[in-house]
Amino acid sequence: MAKMKGTLAYYPRIENINAADEWAKERRGDYMLFGEYGISPLVMKIAGSISPSPMMEIVLSNKNRELFTASLRSAHAAGFSGAVITSGRFEKKDDMPMPVFDLDTTQALTIAVEAKKNGSLPDFLIGVRAASGSEPSELRARHFLDLGADFIVLSNKNSIKGLESRTVICEEYTQR
């Protein structure tokens, strides 16, 4: 298993394609990640504007297993180098739509790893958002790697002992 560590420059929400494009050209971090909120990064990728190849975040909230699989295959087909699976926000608000949480990250990872094994996602990296700081969350993070994740993603300044070589630290870009 190749080591995957370093920093992941994360652009959570594309509001303006030109602005995101400019950000991508500056190329901070060892890897780049575009979030699904806002304009889909697929639009930019199909337009050929992001280079070098970033990864696409796949948010599990409000997405059932069929849409998750579609997002995964779309990200691969559009030429993303990989996907980062995240649970997604749970937003309590007025006129709240029905929350959909069909898959958790472990279940989604299991589907993605199976797709890699059967050859439908060649050369595609799978990462999973994880958490440090408590015994159960670190056990879960280790388990992601045991199940076949290429790497885990932790937020800034966090680490899990023994997993440093498989951890990418996410540095979130805040749009001004």
């Binding site: 909230s61 069909d102 990250t105 279940q107 999973v128 408590s134 159960p136």
Partner: protein, 213 residues
């Protein structure tokens, strides 16, 4: 127990606008515990509807059980026959059972919320989502499907904040609680047991449990 709350009274009035003769039916089980359909609430409803011709009031032990509502409604069969509408202080199952049993127009006076654990009167908590695939034996008797807002079956999720939930910051993350409890029982080897996504083919509404010979 089925947890219910009273509908806004004006909503009930708007549903009986063209009605004169009514019968009021309460539930002596769950709705009585919730103080939404007990004897006192039946009397209050009758008072509030004093401008109507209230032909009868009745408290039924379990209106959702058609055997019981069929038997008990016979006691007021004559009044029911004359009524323009029945007002049911019962859960949605009770309302529909009464409708099927009597063939009458039944007005729901309550909103139905969840299957609740009763701590004491006025303190009801959802502990089971009747999901059809009980994971409690792997989760130290604490249901993550119900108590995690994201319904995470293999947790915790990455939003865990120390020991707390990100959605309900005052609450312990249910997966943190599960892990601590599993350790107490010496069952921590169950923590990573995989729970597959729910198979909805066995699980979507309307569900039925009909015994086959």
């Amino acid at each position: 127990m089925i947890v219910t709350t009273k509908k806004d009274f004006n909503e009930i009035l708007s549903n009986i606008a063209d009605t004169k003769k009514i019968v009021i039916i309460g539930c002596a089980e769950c709705a009585a515990v919730c103080q939404t359909g007990g004897s006192q609430q039946i009397a209050e409803m009758a008072d509030a509807l004093s401008e109507y011709n209230v032909l009868a009031t009745i408290s039924i032990q379990s209106p959702c059980d058609k055997r019981i509502s069929t038997r008990d409604m016979k006691r007021i069969a004559e009044e029911t026959g004359r009524a323009d509408a029945l007002i049911a202080l019962a859960c949605g199952s009770g309302v529909q059972a009464l409708s099927e049993v009597t063939g009458k127009k039944v007005i729901a006076a309550l909103d139905t919320h969840f299957l609740g654990m009763t701590e004491r009167v006025g303190r009801f908590f959802e502990r089971c989502s009747h999901c059809g695939y009980c994971v409690l034996n792997d989760t130290a008797g604490i249901c993550p499907v119900t108590r995690c807002p994201r319904r995470v079956k293999n947790g915790p999720c990455e939003f865990i904040n120390g020991e707390k939930c990100d959605v309900y910051p005052e609450k312990e993350c249910v997966w943190h609680a599960i892990y601590q409890r599993l350790k107490e029982f010496g069952d921590e080897n169950r923590f990573l047991n995989y729970h597959a996504p729910t198979r909805w083919e066995h699980h979507h509404s309307p569900q039925e449990a009909v015994w086959q010979k």
